[in-house]
């Protein structure tokens, strides 16, 4: 992402912009942001400044601010494929997948020969479950990007598409192309191993998994896949080291724990096997209990909704609160709780809850609208800092 943005800016940058760019390149992001903040205030039509500033803010995790800058950039330069692509990448970074897809579509529409945007669009279509469109754009990206490393992403995506379609051999061909274009592409090696495994090519699977684990020894998935494949091929001795590495990197992973317990068992290390199985059982039971809590939370939430309908908002709030306690990851229940708090005038707590709900479900337009309305209606003294900033942005 950076390479594209910087390449554009390199050709067009003004003096303060150049300074900001140099600061950013040196790793002084705070300095760069300070320069850019001033620049966008003094020269609000400086699209390049908005672009760079947005990207820096995104890297700092400042979602709303970053998106605001990028949205200004695309309004100012609606025919710029680079600007739309940059907005898409930032949307994607913050899991606003629907908006990312729209932005990549506009980038490709502005410049159909922009290979990276084609690749990004393909990836977004893939994640949206639109496999045919994903395939079409990945093939275009591959053709446009030639033998560059960026092309490896498109080849990799085509491999994923074929793997999902059940054609392990075609998938293996694409993954092989990806690792040829980018020999240190660990994920592609790992999936090449999966494709070889499904094609019953035992030796090919091990060879690919070994490469993935070599490139990124800290990658728990790569280590697990290598170990599990050794185990499947009745080589528990070889399986043990990668599985132990995987378990150290991600001790709560069910697949890893299962394979590790099996390896210990087959090697006669029964105590370690039993200990690992106990951990595995705990992982499974914990998740089941979470499911059971989720259903209990649903019941409480529904009872709360009934009470709210009957005008008993305070009683409803209590049940909504209990529901959120049991299932804190449910955006809808948290929204109910937040709205009840807001209706009872507990602005600060309600805003915080609604903000959390939005983070849980970033693509949810209703929550976004509710949050915007709440921020605009709440007394200034009740606004948390993030909400004050949001109100200021809206005003601007």
């Amino acid at each position: 992402m950076w390479s594209v943005v910087f390449l554009v800016l390199l050709l067009q940058r003004s003096e303060p912009l150049e300074l900001a760019w140099q600061l950013a390149a040196r790793g002084d992001r705070a300095g760069a942001e300070a320069v850019l903040q001033k620049l966008v205030l003094s020269d609000s039509k400086n699209t390049d400044a908005h672009l760079l500033y947005g990207n820096l803010l995104a890297e700092d995790g400042k979602k709303e601010d970053a998106l605001a800058e990028l949205n200004i950039a695309v309004v100012q330069r609606p025919r710029s494929a680079e600007a739309w692509n940059s907005l898409g990448e930032i949307c994607k970074r913050f899991k606003k997948n629907r908006e990312a897809l729209d932005a990549f579509k506009k980038a490709v529409s502005a410049d159909p020969k922009f290979g990276i945007a084609q690749s990004n669009l393909a990836q977004s279509f893939y994640e949206a479950g639109e496999k045919d469109a994903a395939k079409e754009h990945a093939e275009r990206a591959l053709a446009l990007l030639g033998r560059s490393k960026d092309a490896a992403d498109a080849a990799y995506l085509l491999g994923r598409i074929e793997l999902n379609a059940g054609d392990a051999r075609k998938a293996a061909d694409h993954f092989a192309q990806a690792v040829q274009l980018a020999p240190e592409y660990a994920a592609a090696w790992s999936d090449l191993g999966q494709a070889k495994k499904l094609a019953l090519d035992d030796a090919g699977a091990i060879a690919a998994f070994l490469q993935a684990a070599r490139i990124d020894p800290g990658d728990a998935v790569a280590q697990y896949r290598l170990g599990a494949e050794y185990l499947r091929q009745d080589k528990p001795g070889e399986a043990l080291a990668p599985l132990e590495t995987a378990a150290r990197a991600n001790g709560g992973d069910q697949s890893t724990l299962n394979a590790l317990a099996t390896a210990y068992q087959r090697l006669g290390r029964v105590d370690e096997a039993a200990q690992t199985r106990r951990k595995l059982s705990e992982v499974i039971r914990r998740r089941d209990h979470e499911s059971q809590n989720a259903l209990s939370a649903l019941r409480l939430n529904n009872q709360g909704a009934e009470l709210e309908k009957a005008g008993k908002l305070t009683d409803a709030l209590d049940l909504y609160g209990q529901a959120v306690q049991l299932n804190g990851k449910h955006a809808g229940m948290r929204t109910n709780y937040a709205v009840a708090l807001l209706r009872l005038g507990r602005w600060r707590q309600g805003l915080e809850e609604l903000h959390t709900a939005q983070e849980l479900d970033p693509d949810n337009q209703q929550i976004e609208t509710a949050l915007r309305d709440a921020i605009s209606q709440a007394p200034l003294s009740e606004l948390p800092d993030w909400a004050r900033a949001a109100r200021a942005r809206e005003t601007r």
């Binding site: 019953l200 697949s255 724990l257 059971q292």
Partner: protein, 555 residues
């Protein structure tokens, strides 16, 4: 019910070998006409309306011809007055007569599973049927009628239960059939949202469960020998297991130590292997033995179970069916009860389209190699028009290629395989006594299917009916090894398998071109008997301690 979202394997080159068994559904002509009611045709309000139920081939009147038991559920709001389990007596001419009412089996509740066995060793097969809100033990009176003796036998629970898997098992080798019962979920009508009353339980406005509902608990009852049972769940170690969404239960000596173990397919939770310690206790060892989870360590929606010798190696392997977008599991036994997941190598990974239920590993074409057949069907009637949620679907049949690999058959096996139904339990047996295996299938809100096997040019066969003396009379848990043509086949007499169903208790062996075979019987008592050079194409009646008492050729 949950899926691993597995991508199907791409099928390899088809063998193009002929398949000589052709299946035709003759249920309607045979008089099997009553539907099994399970919720409404367009909706299931609660999980109890979607799980469907089992079927049984049982010779309840001891005339040598298989009768048919088809279980039924019901539905909330407007239960049909005809909804009941149905017993059909075999008229010995490929037709049946509904004798439900006369037999005393008419009952209107939700039935799920059945196990058949002679629990009082009086020579007549009794029935235990699980259900909601209660289970039933029916004693066969030997005169064509049954009596509900659940309460007198000490098997009536005070609280309502969602009974599911069940199997008679002689776990203490005292010659009396004990009883294992699993429960699917703890189901409280007041606590579970009704389908359509919440969109959050499942994303599609369908019924809740099993995930989110409290686990069902499993129980073991020891047969006191006087018509009553004692709950030994706690002392036997069965109660040590926290639970799980238990469905089909199978009793078999899977590790070859002479004591009958229990394997329980569990939905969305790890399946359970209760190892019989030989001292009246069990230890749960599914994870140690490799039959709890998928190869990648994930829970699967375990519905049905078949036990069979898939590799002709004299070992009892396991096949378990699961949800759509997942493969069934093939667990290969190393002979001592350690299993390896061979799903990928077996070729069954090509089939992930439908939710699998009743399953069998049976030699359908008498070539000496067991096929794998399973019944399938959707779970959410509300979504039946959604192509991503197939509801009425064909049956699935895989031919055994003989090297641990299987290939899927569709049009080659007759019209009934491709006919679409929403099915659950199935049972395998030779209802017309013609030397091949037919298939009885339970369909939701439809009459059952009876797939008559019209086998042409098939190989030789043997059937074995065991009668225990020191062992339980039904010989549940007995194992028979048949050797012919340099190949060994092993089968076990089960009290339940498939999906909550019961197969013909007469074990059926295809022999291919071999016209004689050697047999070894391992009785649950520990006794062994051998028969050599037995002529093929006969039903062998073998009584414990007395050997072959009768060889019956079908006319």
């Amino acid at each position: 019910m949950a899926s691993r979202h597995v991508t199907p394997q791409r099928p390899g080159q088809h063998s193009s070998l002929p398949f000589r068994a052709k299946f035709t559904d003759i249920a309607a002509a045979a008089g099997l006409r009553e539907p099994s009611v399970c919720g409404h045709s367009d909706r299931a309000d609660y999980v109890i309306e979607a799980m469907g139920c089992g079927v049984a081939f049982v010779d309840f009147d001891n005339d040598g011809w298989l009768d048919v038991l088809v279980l039924s559920g019901s539905r909330f709001g407007d239960p049909p007055s005809t909804a009941s389990n149905r017993l059909y007596r075999n008229n010995r001419n490929s037709t049946f007569t509904d004798v439900t009412v006369k037999a005393g089996l008419f009952s209107q509740h939700y039935s799920f599973g059945v196990t058949v066995g002679d629990f009082n060793n009086d020579g007549w097969e009794d029935l235990f049927i699980t259900g909601w809100p209660r289970n039933y033990l029916y004693r066969n009176n030997g005169d064509g009628t049954f009596t509900d003796i659940t309460q007198a036998a000490g098997l009536l629970s005070k609280e309502s239960r969602f009974g599911s898997g069940c199997t008679f098992i002689d776990f203490d080798r005292d010659g009396k059939l004990d009883l294992f019962v699993s429960n699917y979920v703890t189901f409280d009508l007041d606590a579970v949202p009704r389908a359509g009353h919440s969109t959050e339980c499942n994303s599609e406005n369908v019924f809740c469960g099993p995930r989110g509902l409290p686990y069902g608990k499993h129980a073991l009852f020891r047969n006191n020998g006087d018509g009553t049972f004692t709950d030994v769940t706690a002392n036997s170690g069965i109660g040590k297991v926290e639970g799980g969404y238990g469905l089909t239960a199978v009793a078999a000596d899977l590790d070859g130590d002479g004591w009958t173990d229990l394997y329980l397919a569990c939905d969305s939770t790890p399946s359970l292997f209760f190892h019989n310690n030989g001292d009246g206790t069990f230890t749960e060892q599914a994870m140690e033995r490799g039959v709890a989870l998928s190869e990648d360590g994930m829970e699967q929606a375990g519905m049905g179970v078949a036990i069979g010798d898939l590799h002709s190696a004299g070992r009892l392997d396991i096949v378990k069916t699961h949800f759509a977008a997942d493969t069934p599991a093939v667990y290969a036994n190393n002979g001592s009860g350690e299993f390896k997941d061979e799903t990928l190598r077996s070729g069954l990974g090509v089939e992930t389209r439908y939710i699998g239920w009743g399953v069998g590993t049976e030699d359908l074409d008498n070539d000496g190699l067991p096929e794998i057949f399973w019944a399938a069907g959707g779970i959410y009637p509300e979504l039946q028009n959604n192509p991503d949620e197939p509801y009425r679907v064909p049956r699935i049949l895989f031919r055994n290629l003989g090297d641990g690999r299987f290939e899927e058959l569709t049009t080659q096996a007759g019209p009934a395989i491709l006919q679409k139904h929403c099915s659950r339990g199935c049972a395998f047996g030779d209802f017309d006594n013609d030397g091949d295996l037919d298939i009885l299938i339970m369909n939701l809100n439809e009459p059952p299917s009876l797939l008559r096997n019209d086998l042409t040019g098939g190989g030789h066969w043997l059937k074995v009916k065991l009668t225990g003396r020191k062992s339980n009379r039904s010989a549940i848990g007995a194992r028979v090894d048949v050797t012919c043509g340099g190949r060994k086949q092993s089968q076990v007499v089960t009290g339940q398998s498939s999906y909550l169903s019961v197969n013909d208790r007469r074990l059926h062996f295809g022999l291919g071109s071999s016209s004689v075979a050697d047999l070894e019987i391992r009785w649950p008592s520990g006794a062994r008997e051998r028969l050599t050079n037995v002529a093929a194409d006969r039903l062998l009646h073998i009584t414990e301690g007395s050997g072959l008492t009768r060889a019956e050729a079908f006319s």
